[in-house]
Amino acid sequence: MTLLIEQCLNGLQFGLLLFLLAAGLTLVFGIMDLVNLAHGSLYMVGAYFAATFAAWTGSFVFGAVLALAATLVVGMTVEVIAMRRLYGRDHLDHVLGTFGLILFFDEAVRMIWGPVGISLPLPPWLNTSVQILPGFQYSAYRLAIIVVTLAAAAFLNVLVMHTRVGMLIRAGASNREMVGALGVNIKLLFTLVFGLGAALAGLAGLMQAPMLTAQIGMGENILILAFVITVIGGIGSIRGAFVAALFVGFVDTLGRAFFPDLMRLMLSKDAAATAAPALSSMLIYLLMAIVLVLRPEGLFPVNKR
């Protein structure tokens, strides 16, 4: 029973973390119609920045805040230099151009920080466990991730739904030209949205860093998951991304934890041992394939013009 609760919390934590990445992707896609493969690179950059700044300042929180700001700046710089020129192009051009950026970022990180990953040690007050229920301990850091990501999601909700900037963002998503015609500085808005997405990716990266050291290529695996989420949720929909992220987080975590046991009930022990790891990693892709076949536009399709 405690195992189930623990795995559910892990699923929640992973799902929320994925949401941070998927939210940025889906914002950028919904508003700028841009497929950004380099989103995972910003996640990686966030993790490396956090590890470096935390070592410099000697404080985890201070390092994290600095890393967040730095990722925001990197994101906005990338937008101004490269992404801006890709809007309105073919999706294939996006794939190729941002693939080039991945190569650039991976190699730049290798040059600056070396090929070996660097770890981000946790401060003692996070590196403990908390008693949530009588007789049930849970990692304080994972709990902190849940709190921070929920706060970020709430912030995003307020920003997009209840502020003037958010109104412009939503307006930009439904009709770009019209917003521009009404005298809104679209270029600046796009740069801000891209920076916001980058900062969210950086936040996800820096929170993941203490659990799985910051390393080259860390962004690429999780990027695919984030893409799966945006597609399941309906591209451009933040609400859809939230639901799909939690769904994928749970399916992936619980699948890995309990699928092998379930298989063992049905198959022989050897067959289960070979098939289970493969099947539990492909579970979410299977899920996405099913969703796309049944609802090609995703669970929460966004109505475009």
């Binding site: 294939l92 151009g97 080039g100 597609v231 493969a278 892709y285 090609p296």
Partner: protein, 318 residues
């Protein structure tokens, strides 16, 4: 393919002939490395050529094309592991498996369009990747060594480097010819019509879904063939052969060379892999140059290398 004399035709024909004569140069200079490098280039050019059939002509942006490389390669690897080295068994099995996988993926994916199509093909390829990586009997993550190349009847011996090179080259040229015939046939016209306006093609009575599916399967099968060659070339297969970055590499070759032109992917493959080789000789961190270079190609050289060649040909003529 008109016979007019211009820069593009000279370069393209020069390339085709140079590839034919390469083993002669190797025989004279003794530079074995060039032969190995170009065998690899030719195999990947075959994969890129097959991808171009669906991306360039069909407008189907598959981001999971490396899956067929993996399936073709693993068919050879798995059969070899089970003691079957006969090429007459290995190759048809590999092609059949690739075609079957393409049929399933295509049948489901072609219901979607645009970004969804990119993502669903990617998802299927990743599924295949994880399945292969999870099977411990065939090496799992570590891959599978192939102890003997595919066996054929007497004169054909794949372990001879020169013979293997010519086999790959012959298969590449045959595939390019096949695709050229296909693209210019009635079938190819329907596919290209569906790319520019699917609705209209259906309105005049073409079941475009079936046409596109057949096109998708042909491309998958040809890429499976490239996978067979690649496995024989490296004498080793690992799941990384079908990782999504490999699909990205194939897309780069197609776009770099020039989409939709039949010879474009060959030019793209040669350009990319030779560039990689040259850059990696200059600096250890060659990707930091290659990455922005790709971005520049996307931004400023639409139509890729072939497009540039055509443009410069037009200038010479005027």
């Amino acid at each position: 393919m008109s016979a007019t004399f211009n820069v593009r035709n000279v370069v393209v024909r020069g390339l085709l002939i140079a590839l034919l004569l390469l083993p002669v140069y190797v025989g004279l200079s003794g530079d074995r490395f060039v032969l190995t490098l170009f065998t690899r280039i030719i195999i990947l050019a075959l994969a890129a050529t097959s991808l171009n059939l669906i991306i360039g002509n069909g407008g189907m942006m598959s981001f999971g094309h490396a899956a067929y490389l993996g399936i073709g390669g693993y068919a050879v690897g798995i059969l070899a592991r089970e003691g079957i080295f006969n090429g007459f068994v290995q190759w048809p099995v590999a092609l059949g498996a690739s075609a079957l996988f393409a049929l399933i993926v295509g049948a489901l994916s072609l219901r979607t369009r645009g970004v969804h199509f990119i993502m669903i093909t990617l998802a299927f390829a990743q599924m295949a990747y994880y399945v292969i990586a999870g099977i411990a009997r065939y090496g799992g993550d570590d891959g599978l060594t192939i102890y003997r190349r595919s066996q054929f009847v007497a004169p054909l011996d794949l372990s001879s480097k020169t013979q293997f090179y010519y086999l790959c080259l012959a298969l590449l040229y045959a595939s390019i010819y096949l695709i050229w015939r296909l693209v210019n046939s009635r079938f190819g016209m329907v596919i290209q019509g569906a790319r520019s306006n699917d609705l209209r093609m259906r309105a005049i009575g073409y079941p475009t879904y079936r046409y596109k599916l057949v096109c998708f399967v042909i491309a998958g099968t040809l890429c499976g063939l490239a996978g067979v060659l690649l496995a024989n070339y490296t004498e080793f297969v690992s799941p990384s052969i079908m990782y999504w970055t490999r699909s990205g590499d194939l897309i780069i070759m197609v776009v770099l060379g020039g989409m939709g032109s039949v010879l474009g992917p060959l030019i793209g493959a040669v350009a990319l892999l030779v560039l990689e080789e040259l850059l990696s000789n200059i600096t250890e961190y060659w990707q930091i140059i290659l990455g922005p270079l790709l971005l520049l190609v996307v931004l400023f050289a639409r139509g890729g290398v072939d497009g540039l060649l055509v443009k410069s040909s037009a200038k010479v003529r005027s």
